[in-house]
Assembly symmetry: D2
Homo-oligomer: 347 residues x 4
Amino acid sequence: MHFASDNSGPAHPKVMQALMEANDGYRMPYGADAEMAAVRDRIREVFEAPEAAVYLVATGSACNALILATLCQPWQAVFCSEVAHIEEDECGAPEFFTGGAKLALVDAPDAMMTPEALRARIDRTDQGVVHGVQRGPVSLTTVTERGTVYSLDQLRGLAGVAKDYDLPVHLDGARFANALVTANHSPADMTWRAGIDAVSLGGTKNGLLGVEAAVFFDPAHAWEFELRRKRSGHLFSKHRYLSAQMLAYLTDDLWLETARAANAACARLVAGLRALDHVELRHPPQANMIYCAFPRGLHRKAKEAGAQFYSLGALDGDDDEMLGARLVCDWSASDENTDRFLKILGA
Amino acid sequence: MHFASDNSGPAHPKVMQALMEANDGYRMPYGADAEMAAVRDRIREVFEAPEAAVYLVATGSACNALILATLCQPWQAVFCSEVAHIEEDECGAPEFFTGGAKLALVDAPDAMMTPEALRARIDRTDQGVVHGVQRGPVSLTTVTERGTVYSLDQLRGLAGVAKDYDLPVHLDGARFANALVTANHSPADMTWRAGIDAVSLGGTKNGLLGVEAAVFFDPAHAWEFELRRKRSGHLFSKHRYLSAQMLAYLTDDLWLETARAANAACARLVAGLRALDHVELRHPPQANMIYCAFPRGLHRKAKEAGAQFYSLGALDGDDDEMLGARLVCDWSASDENTDRFLKILGA
Amino acid sequence: MHFASDNSGPAHPKVMQALMEANDGYRMPYGADAEMAAVRDRIREVFEAPEAAVYLVATGSACNALILATLCQPWQAVFCSEVAHIEEDECGAPEFFTGGAKLALVDAPDAMMTPEALRARIDRTDQGVVHGVQRGPVSLTTVTERGTVYSLDQLRGLAGVAKDYDLPVHLDGARFANALVTANHSPADMTWRAGIDAVSLGGTKNGLLGVEAAVFFDPAHAWEFELRRKRSGHLFSKHRYLSAQMLAYLTDDLWLETARAANAACARLVAGLRALDHVELRHPPQANMIYCAFPRGLHRKAKEAGAQFYSLGALDGDDDEMLGARLVCDWSASDENTDRFLKILGA
Amino acid sequence: MHFASDNSGPAHPKVMQALMEANDGYRMPYGADAEMAAVRDRIREVFEAPEAAVYLVATGSACNALILATLCQPWQAVFCSEVAHIEEDECGAPEFFTGGAKLALVDAPDAMMTPEALRARIDRTDQGVVHGVQRGPVSLTTVTERGTVYSLDQLRGLAGVAKDYDLPVHLDGARFANALVTANHSPADMTWRAGIDAVSLGGTKNGLLGVEAAVFFDPAHAWEFELRRKRSGHLFSKHRYLSAQMLAYLTDDLWLETARAANAACARLVAGLRALDHVELRHPPQANMIYCAFPRGLHRKAKEAGAQFYSLGALDGDDDEMLGARLVCDWSASDENTDRFLKILGA
């Protein structure tokens, strides 16, 4: 009963198989491997973006921070949600990589910015006045940090606001495959056609060992990105082992298959939770992550039974008090475990 | 005939096997995996350092730069050889991670600093005078960037100079196993007992897919290192896959076995080259890397025959002119390829 | 009728006189001038802090950022008001000097943080968890950015919260003299006795050409500060000209005399504004700065008559609509100008 | 007998007078003062550069570092002499302001780079290879750090090398007026016509209290420079006091008058030293700074008699041993003092 995070589960067997196959003989290092050429072609095909610049790194924080550093000057602000991963979960990586840019936080109910809130925050930043930081990129996340998914119209609306101010748009797609499965639009529609300039395309949370792709639809910044990646220690010498993972991920749409499995497991869990009077959903769960609340006593009981998940508060206290929980399903989640967990909560 | 680099070869089968085995079920993320606990214990045992703080990252540049940033203030100088990897091959990673420290270069024949040259360079840095940068860590490399290996006395001598000035000492051990095999001393003797405070313990060039260990013999800086690692995007969520590689590496001394294989292959190559009048060795090859020179025409001939290695200059030009070459043997090098290559050079 | 800012007025004649007198013959450079020794003694006397480390720089942004960089690690957060000068008016100087620290904003009605809001914001910062930035210094401002002044109890309360978490406290005292005159407590009571660790002691806005003093009550960080000051280009070679200004400022309490004059001019203006039905005060004006609102038409009329002040919005629009204004009095403000201005607003 | 530095002497009376006159009434802050408009016009006239972007800061280190940060990317190298002020005397300011660029040192006999040495150092920097830092600006200094002055041909030669590689050129002109007087060419010939892109135009060492001008002949970088200046705390609110100094400096060629006085005093001192058998000149003194050597005993004797200068080594030791000295003349040096000093050395 593992609902702690989609970064705790195993890698997909096909990915492990690809790693094994990539381990024959010699390869050119530092991204000159044949697998990387295939990854580049495949990502350009998947995103219908023949000009895109494509790079691989091993962590999501590196991918986000390197893209933002490339799109942002040190004296600019990055506009993002008040609960954005780049704000709350990267120990200041964007500030470090950009050379001290500021994150300008935008109100975001259910972790989704509204065009009005974004516009208001941008307007508050005096462009052309030397005393304050200047306007920089807008960074969106989908699947959001609360499990919601931007609709195509929402993405277009937010990117449209950025374009009104001539600001670049970054998409943190650590769970982009899960968002795609929910939104049911093409990768191109959900990104560059909607006005997004660069994407952190996640693989680690969706069946890889640890690979994310940085995709720039305009290759103008490609060389700068390569230098920033090397300078920050994120260029792998034995790069083939990153390439092989990403190539397997995108072959025969494995990435969508694993995302569908995770979202389906989550939907099953949501349906079960909805049926329980003493469980409240805190945000609409639209992909593979649930924010909910149930009595503290049940937190303890479930954990004693072996369930793993984040309790959003202390476990000791009044049994009947409602306590928040975060539940995440990964591609390998089993119906059996889900039903066992629901049975415990239902008891 | 692959002599381009020890980062171009395959990972060792036992390492791949360990990766497979680590891929069962769920693990705690971010270094809380059971494999990491075992790695920590094993490294402390290998280095006879029960207090050591041990962390894993995926690249050597990250390992070096994170250790240096932890040992160095932004207004200090890092003393290193004029051909140090941190100076020439990391695109300014030390400057980036430290917040703008300066690398103070020390003359180093055969890439080995002398105590006199180090002392002179430190003396040139006015400590306590606000106008210049202050004295910071000393960074040594062994196997050096020219294929030589510091003797135990040399390490003690250089670390002793640093201690005279109360400066911390970092060892870039990207090829530490190869150096150990040559020097034939214990890891403890070659590091903390010689006066070294922190080591970048390499695995990538010696049979892993991509893992290096940062080892601090004094754990005082442990928490700062963890924050710097996270902040720079080098903390892996699915950390088990780093741990499993390093654990396999240190089990049954696989790391020494692969290093011995690489050094033996190199020795065979050296013996063959010495027998050829038209080949000059440029530095004493003491581990698995050779700097030599032979006529340009032979460079072309060897490459046409499929040999891979770095020519230290342009391939087009006078056939008879001596042209430098770098030849590196990895753990998987075969006698057959070595002999084929020697035959071509001998023809 | 100059109410734009207290950085637009002239320097005090006694300060100019001191500059002239300091211009005789030679002096040791870089702060070794005799005037600086006298400044150090005088500030230690004024603050009853015989151990204090004292340094001079030429701008308030440099003083704040250098102190914060000395008190804060790159991976920490600085807790400050949502309208703090360091957040809104320094183009990211704190982020630049600290190497990418994050400013964590605290709700602050009338620009004054409450202990509850500060505590809540600190609690939201997970100390000891590697994913987020860590807790760093608390930065207060008095006179605040909205013209209010913390009472001694308020300062003690906020510093007390910081001490509960073992966090250092910085005071942005760009208008510290004006605050002292209002609060009517000793410099020691308003700073280190209340729990403040370092002060930016402003002079520029209160009669100097351009000098601020960085005062650390604990000299532990002195040498680091000196290196940071030099490294950021803020150490003056002909330092005597900074020293002479600050010495004149603190001689015969000139600093309090000029602050009293500014506050008195402001009180006269406030009294006049209160008498006008169509003028609203937006924050309680407690020193030498007023935030108020009056009909847009009067903004235009006053400016046409030569009044200088900041209108907090566009001048073109409905005449009758209330429009915000910031009015600041400096030490040289004249009753005549104040009364002329009030007459215009009253018409 | 003050030969310690040209930053120890007084400001010129005309400059003090201008400060007094600028202290009447109110001025727009932050560089919007009328004096600054006049400074901008005057510098454009002096340099025959009607498009030039002109900014004032208070220190030479800030001027150099801000210009370099504007011309250099964090992953690039700044090419400069091994004894450049930016390398030896600014505590790493260029590294701090650039975000971690590397200073690549060029051999420079008499502190003057040769085109051959510069070209060789640039060639050693692999452009387009991601492993090393990339080629960035070339930074020259004249008057050099050893008192020599580049001829017009030398400046053209070095700038020409930079242009061959398409690299921008910065001139550290802390003593530019002294160099102009020696070289006897126009400011335009010695800068942009010779291929220099930006100049740090010094005033502090030549009769001002503390002002340097950053001059960009191509205004493309103007706004970036303004943001960097503000962000680093170098934008003065009461800017008029910087403007007034620089305006007086450039009025009626006061800057050349003071430089001529300093150079003449130095020439008198050089003539006297040449007449003394036991004094050796270490570098050709071509402006207002002398590097020489004379017996240690005379160092002590001169200092006991009140002479101030830097001895380049310890004062205690063998009296007869030759010990280096640095002697600098400022605009206010008197023949009487010079002759007194020569008499002591001659005795």
